[in-house]
């Protein structure tokens, strides 16, 4: 596999990324190929346009949000290491690794996964899901099946049921608490990176 070792050298900070994310070098290679494939102009980074070119995303009701999740606020580019970092949220939680008590938290940990989901709701990134933000997600996902008023009352109720401090918004702690029993590990993981 001479080619693989040579292409591995292309990847910047390969070793560091592997440590941070828990990906193996084979994973990284695959992702790097994908990254280059997405990066149509060989810019070395991805712009939102590159993501939008992905066919399925256009159909996805929350595709836009997921694209946004790749870009840290204020930036409109994402380089390879951030790309990998984001995708690492979807690794199945590596049990052995976490047990060893690694000093830093891997992105595939439960909290990180939840945080990622939370950020999909939290558009303005103020650490709270407001009613309006919830409503937008609902609107995107339920679409035409439900009327606006219904959406509103669903959002209203959803907030009510988890809102512990009565500030009419969902904080991350509240979010985490309400999803305590959900098997995030299964629901927020993809087998492809195994």
């Amino acid at each position: 596999m001479g080619s693989s070792s040579s292409s591995r050298n292309k990847i910047p900070n390969a070793q560091e990324l592997m440590d941070q994310t828990g990906f193996s070098s084979a994973h990284l290679l695959r992702l790097y190929d994908r990254f280059e494939c997405l990066d149509r102009d060989n810019k070395g980074y991805l712009s939102p346009d590159d993501f939008e070119a992905v066919g399925g995303l256009a159909m996805n009701p929350i595709g836009g949000r997921i694209i946004d999740a790749f870009f840290s606020s204020g930036q409109d580019t994402v380089d390879f290491s951030s790309f990998v970092w984001i995708l690492a949220h979807f690794r199945p939680t590596d049990r052995n690794r976490n047990k060893e008590g690694t000093q830093q938290e891997l992105p595939d940990s439960r909290t990180r996964k939840l945080k990622f989901a939370f950020q999909l709701y939290d558009l303005d990134r103020d650490g709270k899901i407001s009613r309006e933000e919830l409503l937008q997600v609902l609107r995107a996902m339920l679409g035409l099946q439900v009327t606006e008023e219904q959406l509103q009352s669903i959002a209203e109720r959803a907030i009510q049921e988890v809102d512990l401090d009565k500030d009419d918004a969902i904080s991350f702690d509240e979010f985490k608490k309400s999803l305590e029993k959900v098997d995030i590990d299964t629901k927020m993981s993809i087998g492809f990176l195994k």
Binding site: L31, R34, C37, L38, F51, V54, G55, G56, L57, N60, P61, I62, G63, I66, L87, F90, P92, A117, L120, Y121, L134, V137, L138, M141, L142, Q145, V146, T147, E148, E149, Q150, L151, Q152, S153, I154, E156, R157, A158, Q160, E161, V162, I170, F175, S178, L179, K181, V182, D185, T186, K187, M188, S189, I190, G191, F192, L193, K194
Partner: protein, 847 residues
């Protein structure tokens, strides 16, 4: 405790009676069997011959006709006895906490069998394969399929199939070969069993039994994935067992010398044919059921029956074609559940659910009791220590080996690997049960000399697994700290987030350029929603599918129930009105209602369907509506309305409830009656308004128009006219702060256009007019009532401003053109609320 003993005593007495009767029947039977040669009227003749033999000299007033009904009577009695056993067992919770119910039922079976043995000296009642496979098993399987958690099942289908197919083959082969090896090694003494017969025995012992597994696992509440794997395996491996059994049975008949490569290939082919054929039959029947329920609206009362009959037919059809009947029934249930639930009326859905449980649970009980009874029979007890112990040992050990090996392979591909303790529980949950026993009894004694030994061994394995493993399962689960199933409270956010996860995963798969499960699932879902649902679901059911919304709906229903319960506790629902939560609920209420808006709109084009859809769709929501309307009202309004309602509606309603009807439960489903009530209300209102001395005629007129035209709805022009009247009236009303009671037949359209804040007084009047009966009727009854839902819109109407300018214009135009002059009059009419309404109307004579 005393009651328990009482029951036991009663049971014993029943048993004695049973035994005595059966004794009688025993005596009679030899005669019968000699004299009858399959003539249809045999029981009749022998019955008469049994007692009043000689010529009749005088007219007997009472005769003893046991033989007429002996079979049916015994069947019914046995069912009763078995169920009473369960009753006794379940009334002792401290015992069932330790020993699973299935084990206790078997023990009861021992006792009962002992009594019969004591009375008859021969075991009269045993579990015969015919009874088991045709009368007891189908409903258990159908229930399992119908209530299968589909998503979980299909997510884990790969693993389930691996365990069910490969695991079962492994169990059969390893057991058969090992026993044969031990036989060769001389561990079992002198037995006349060939290798093929060992394999046959192995194949009948191989399958994990669905009945036993359900019974035990339901009590231990292990986590979902673990449960579905064991449960799914137990259901699907039947196909494999039956095929293996048939193949080896045929091989045994052929004899070792006849078997060559072709026969073996045939055997393998037959496996696929039987398994897939059975599944296909099931799928075909599932589709048929779904299609059938699309058009059973008019025979709602027997609607649930179709599920059972078709389910049973799918079982029998597969059996007839010598395909796997269990697979057929499972897939039939799995496939039809979604569409059936959407298509049928909510009441029918509930009926199916409960009736299914009654049948399944009932026959499960009977199966276990009879498994116990069957043991007390001297004929089958042939002891061979080596054979029996080795079988038990091998069954146990090979199950472990098989599970661990297969899991080791599977875990390489699984997203979330099965953990070690999960595997232990899976292996330990390999319970054998009645299926194995049924197959063992079916062995042909002429071909297999040691049949009784096999039956006996099977029974011992069954007892060992069900009683011993079943008993130790719970402590083991606790000890190993197996992840239990969590009792999840339904929350909207959770459901929402789940849905979001799904979308996210699909998106991430897109981004990373993989075609994974999520991608495929989303494609399938799209296809399913677009095509399959379109064919199998009736149009009105298709819309309400979204999970998040369903959860929302369920939560609201739950709330409503709680309100009613609370209301009953406090004596009335008055408190709801006093509390000031009005805003929330009002909002909620709106949304509930608006759900129905789009399709009502759609239906506007053909007049009379509008009512029918309304009726269909609203009932489920109506409970909330009651509540919401309540909430939204001020106290004063409530009192007012309460008063009115007392006067108008209670009595006629109640009297209707007492009617007997074979085909209808809910009186208010009847259009006539709704109209009747409506008319009555109108009349009363008019009268009361007359007291306020103002011309009511116009209102009445429009009212009548509704009644005349709505149900017929033959021509669009007619209905249009209707609408226009309505609209006019509504605008008029809203202007005059009144109205909403009139919109019964057309809840949606006109209402939208009344002004916010309008008709406060009236809303109280109207909304209470009907909904207050939730005070009187339990929610489940109220749920189905049409009239309540009819009223609901009025409230909504007040709160929502006209939505589209076009509508407004439209209405405005109409108003001007047709009836603008009436509005004033109507305003006047409406203002005085009836202070002393006339006496309650007599019950409707329509029905």
């Amino acid at each position: 405790m005393a009651t328990c003993w009482g029951f036991t005593l009663f049971l014993c007495m029943l048993l004695m009676a049973c035994g005595g009767l059966s004794l009688a029947s025993e005596e009679a039977e030899p005669r019968n069997s000699q004299t009858d040669t399959g003539t249809g009227s045999s029981s009749n003749t022998t019955g008469e011959g049994g007692h009043g033999a000689g010529p009749i000299t005088t007219l007997p007033i009472v005769t003893w006709k046991w033989h007429h009904i002996s079979t049916q009577y015994l069947v019914a009695l046995w069912i009763l006895v078995a169920w009473l056993c369960k009753l006794i067992i379940e009334s002792n919770h401290h015992v069932t906490n330790v020993i699973p119910e299935s084990a206790l039922l078997i023990c009861f079976g021992f006792v009962l069998g002992g009594m019969i043995w004591g009375a008859d000296k021969v075991q009269t009642f045993t579990l015969t394969p015919t009874v088991f496979f045709y009368f007891l098993l189908p409903q258990v399987i159908l229930d399992a399929g119908y209530h299968m958690p589909n998503k979980l099942f299909f997510t884990n289908l790969g693993a389930i199939l691996v365990y069910a197919v490969i695991g079962t083959c492994w169990n059969a082969a390893s057991l058969g070969l090992s026993l044969w090896g031990c036989h060769m090694g001389g561990l079992m003494g002198d037995l006349d069993i060939s290798l093929l017969q060992y394999l046959l025995f192995g194949s009948l012992m191989a399958a994990v039994d669905p009945v036993a597994v359900i019974a035990v696992f339901e009590q231990v509440h292990v986590n979902d994935v673990l449960f579905i794997i064991v449960f799914g395996e137990s259901l699907l491996n039947d196909g494999v067992t039956v095929v293996l059994f048939n193949v080896f049975d045929a091989f045994v008949s052929l004899g070792g010398s006849q078997i060559d490569a072709t026969e073996i290939v045939k055997g393998i082919v037959s496996f696929f044919v039987v398994a897939f054929g059975g599944s296909l039959v099931g799928i075909a029947f599932g589709l048929l059921i779904s299609l059938l329920t699309r058009c059973t609206k008019n025979i709602q009362i027997i609607e649930p029956g179709f599920i059972f009959v078709m389910g049973y037919l799918s079982y029998l059809t597969a059996e007839m074609l010598s395909l796997s009947a269990i697979l057929s029934t499972v897939f039939c249930g799995v496939l039809c559940q979604k569409y059936v639930r959407a298509n049928m009326h909510e009441h029918s859905v509930q009926t199916v659910k409960y009736a299914m449980k009654v049948f399944a649970n009932g026959s499960e009980t009977i199966i276990f009791v009879f498994l116990g009874i069957s043991a007390i029979d001297k004929v089958i007890w042939v002891w061979n220590t080596g054979f029996i112990l080795l079988t038990v040992f091998f069954v146990f050990v090979y199950r472990f080996i098989g599970v661990f090996f297969l899991t080791w392979i599977l875990n390489r591909y699984r997203l979330v690997p099965l953990e070690f303790i999960d595997q232990v529980i899976m292996s330990y949950g390999g319970l054998r049960g009645a299926v194995a026993y049924g197959l063992a009894v079916m062995l042909d004694e002429n071909k297999i000399k040691e049949k009784n030994l096999m039956v006996c061994t099977t029974l011992i394995v069954v007892y060992f697994t069900v009683i011993w493993q079943g008993m130790t399962m719970k402590p083991l689960v606790t000890w190993l700290k197996v992840k239990r199933a969590e009792v999840n409270e339904l929350t909207l956010l959770e459901k929402m987030t789940n849905k979001m996860f799904n979308h996210t995963l699909v998106a991430i798969e897109d981004i990373s350029g993989q075609i994974g499960h999520n991608y495929l699932r989303s494609k399938w879902k799209y296809f399913e929603e677009k095509w399959i649902s379109w064919i199998l679901m009736k149009p009105s059911a298709r819309k309400k599918q979204d999970e998040v919304f369903n959860v929302f709906h369920q939560l609201n229903l739950k709330d409503a129930m709680e309100y009613v319960a609370e209301g009953e506790r406090r004596g009335s629902l008055e408190f709801i009105r006093k509390e000031s939560v009005a805003i929330d609920f009002r909002k909620k209420f709106e949304s509930e209602y608006s759900e129905d808006m789009p399709d009502m709109r759609a239906n506007m084009s053909n007049g009379h369907r509008a009512t029918s859809t309304t009726r269909e769709r609203i009932p489920s929501v109506s409970v909330e509506m009651h509540k919401h309307t309540m909430k939204a009202m001020t106290e004063a309004e409530a009192v007012n309305a309460h008063h009115l309602l007392d006067q108008h509606l209670y009595k006629s309603r109640k009297q209707h409830r007492h009617r007997f009807s074979r085909s209808k439960f809910i009186i208010n489903k009847d259009e006539k009656e709704v109209q009747e009530i409506f008319q009555r209300t109108m009349k009363n209102r008019m009268e009361s308004a007359k007291m306020g001395s103002s011309p009511k005629t116009i209102v009445k007129h429009t009212k009548k128009e509704h009644q005349r035209k709505m149900p017929k709805g033959k021509s669009i022009s007619q209905t249009k006219l209707c609408y226009s009247c309505d609209e006019v009236i509504f605008i008029g009303f809203s202007e005059g702060d009144s109205a909403s009671g009139y919109d019964l037949p057309y809840p949606s359209f006109p209402m939208r256009d009344s002004r916010p804040g309008g008709g406060i007084e009236n809303s109280a009047f109207v909304s209470d007019l009907y909904p207050t009966d939730s005070l009187q009727t339990p929610p489940w009854l109220a749920e189905g009532e049409l009239d309540s839902s009819m009223v609901a819109p009025s409230l909504r109407a007040q709160a929502s401003p006209p939505t589209s300018p076009i509508e407004m214009r439209h209405l405005g135009l109409l108003r001007i053109s047709t009836r603008s002059t009436d509005t004033k009059q109507m305003n006047n009419d409406q203002l005085p609320l009836p202070p002393t309404p006339p006496p309650p109307p007599p019950p409707s004579s329509h029905m």
